[in-house]
Amino acid sequence: MSDAASGSALDDLPGELLMWVLIVSELLVFGAGLVAFMAVRLTDPAGFAAAQDHLFRAGAALNTMVLVSSGFLAAQALRWREAGARGAARWALVAAAALGVVFLIIKGAEYAAKSADGIGWDTHAFFTFYYLLTGFHAAHVVAGVVLLMLVAWRDAVANIQAVAMFWHMVDLVWVLLYPVIYLLA
């Protein structure tokens, strides 16, 4: 019965259905948050532009590289595991997690610099969104690092696939979030 109508389209999706439900949900949340950010920006474009100048754009650009490279390693790890190269897959997962930590260090430095300048979440509406959206994203990076290490240990194909999907979702959110918050002047 599942094959006929509602089953077939969903069965085309690679990987676990629940991970896709999560990916769509996260995209909706971040998408709505970024749209709200742009809408609130209309009320004070000059203030938003001035606030954005406090951001460390080069660090964010570097973090994009870090994250897409980490995503590459996670995707490659799954391919290797499927091909039976368990050792290589494990190392790739550990390396992906390590890059996740690098991302967090750069992000942490960014937050520390803001804090040193006396900038908090309530300094300006821009920073409320900045902290909410990047902070929520960074929390997912933390979770991703833990999960990557976990599947480097418990390395069933299905486990690696589910975590890699989570990690790619974190990547995907970043490539949409980074341009809107850091680059749109």
């Binding site: 019965m1 599942s2 006929a4 109508a5 509602s6 089953g7 259905l17 629940l18 439900v21 999560l22 949900s25 909706l28 949340v29 709505a32 948050g33 709200a36 979440w121 309530d122 409320t128 969104f129 902290y131 909410l132």
Partner: protein, 455 residues
């Protein structure tokens, strides 16, 4: 009835339905006070009537959930309930606690006493001793059903049901924490009130609905389980941080306005998924189950929950809107349709399904039962519209034009009369329902011969 201990559910359902009758009667009385404000103002003040209305609602819904668990867990895990004695003892504790709470409220006994007096926090006004009793009963219940499930077969339905019931009990523990700071008080208070109805209760709802769909439509368990997992994931994803929509104006930091608005907007999604689930299952199902009334209640539950909890919730969940509508009759409109659709209808669906089996009868009085569905649902839907219009007018006059609260209330009288009329229909519907499931008649709908349930 395959298992002897499923019979426990009968006692739970009976208590639940008795409290249901009390709940709607108190509601009708409260509705009358709205049109004639001095009624009983000395003997039984409005706030007490409202407490009886909301407390008995919650208690009977939970009693119904527990009965449902005792009914469906033996069948799902293919085991008798671990200890029927404990199950009846648990019900006794709940009944004593409920009566104790009612007596304490009505006569305001032991005013201000830390253990025996009413606590005065909306919905968790119960005296501390009653709260302790609730926790003891919940522990007995969880021990009993968990032991049964652990000893038997584990299905997605029982797993999700247990997750929901454990969550329900654990979250209630926050009712013992009563900080002096009013903002903190409210912040933790919502861990119970919100995380129940927009969190763990949704898990209970989804699993009971899944069980009903499995039985009524005959769709493969595999398909039902896939839907169930997706619905549960969506409910938890949106519901947990959706708590933020209660943190807009209670003194919590401003970022909650965005967290609450965004996550709670997504709370409509699991309710939509439940509605889609119910209709897709019926559409795909091959079984022509004789209990048409149970199917009607199930579909009605999923549909009215989507509108009441989903659509009416979304209406005022964005903080820009809620800034104006907060605490108006819009909230009352949402509260009524959401509770009725999601949790009242769900309980009545499982009662309708289970009662003929428990009483070892054919599904009698289908027509009366279905009539009670339309009468009650029509009443609640009409009430919802009346209160929505009242709330809209109230928002405009009071929040936009800045008129005085009581002056505005006078102008809403027509809507309160309409709500009272709708309340009469609901009470009659509730009594009709109880009669239809409890009192047998010689009227049987033949499988396949009957009309299809209205959709």
């Amino acid at each position: 009835m395959k298992y002897e201990t499923q019979k426990i559910a009968l006692a739970y359902f009976a208590v639940a339905m008795a409290l249901f009758a009390i709940q709607v009667s108190a509601g009708l009385l409260a509705g009358w006070v709205y049109v004639s404000p001095n009624t009983l103002s000395e003997l039984l003040p409005f706030n007490i009537i409202r407490m009886l209305h909301s407390n008995s609602l919650v208690v009977w819904l939970i009693t119904g959930f527990m009965g449902a668990a005792y009914f469906l867990i033996p069948e799902e895990s293919e085991r008798e309930i671990h200890s029927p004695t404990l199950a009846y003892l648990q019900l006794l504790i709940l009944v004593v606690g409920t009566l104790g709470a009612v007596v304490t409220y009505v006569f305001d006994l032991f005013h201000g006493h830390w253990l025996l007096g009413m606590e005065g926090r909306e919905f968790i006004e119960q005296p501390v001793w009653v709260k302790v009793g609730i926790v003891v009963a919940a522990l007995i219940f969880l021990y009993n059903v968990t032991m049964t499930v652990l000893a038997g077969k584990k299905t997605a339905i029982t797993n999700i049901l247990l997750l929901g019931l454990w969550g329900l009990a654990l979250l209630f523990l926050f009712s013992f924490y009563n900080p002096g700071n009013l903002s903190l008080d409210k912040q933790f208070w919502w861990y119970i009130v919100h995380l129940w109805v927009e969190g763990v209760w949704e898990l209970i709802m989804a699993s009971i609905l899944a069980y009903l769909m499995l039985k009524l439509t005959g769709v493969d368990r595999e398909v039902v389980e896939k839907w169930l997992y997706v619905i549960v994931a969506l409910a938890l994803f949106s519901g947990i941080l959706g708590t933020g929509h209660h943190y807009y104006w209670i003194g919590t930091p401003g970022y909650w306005q965005w967290i609450g608005s965004i996550f709670s907007s997504l709370e409509v999604v699991p309710f939509f998924a439940m509605m889609a689930f119910a209709f897709v299952m019926v559409w795909k199902g091959r079984r022509d189950h004789p209990n048409k009334a149970a199917l009607l209640w199930s579909l009605g539950c999923a549909t009215l929950a989507f509108f009441g909890a989903g659509v009416w919730g979304f209406l005022h969940t964005l903080h820009g809107v809620n800034y104006y509508t907060h605490g108006t009759q819009i909230t009352a409109a949402h509260g009524h349709l959401a509770f009725y659709g999601a949790y009242v209808s769900l309980n009545l669906a499982i009662f309708t399904y289970a009662m003929p089996i428990l009483l070892n009868r054919d599904p009698y009085n289908q027509v009366l039962n279905m009539g009670s569905f339309w009468l009650m649902s029509g009443g609640v839907v009409f009430m919802t519209f009346a209160l929505t219009f009242a709330g809209t007018v109230q928002t405009h006059l009071q929040r936009v034009l800045g008129e005085n609260f009581m002056d505005v209330q006078d102008q809403l009288a027509i809507f309160y009369w309409m709500r009272f009329g709708a309340g009469i229909a609901v009470v009659l519907g509730a009594l009709l329902f109880i009669y239809a499931v409890a009192v047998p008649r010689k009227e049987i709908i033949e499988p396949g011969a009957a009309e299809t349930p209205a959709e």
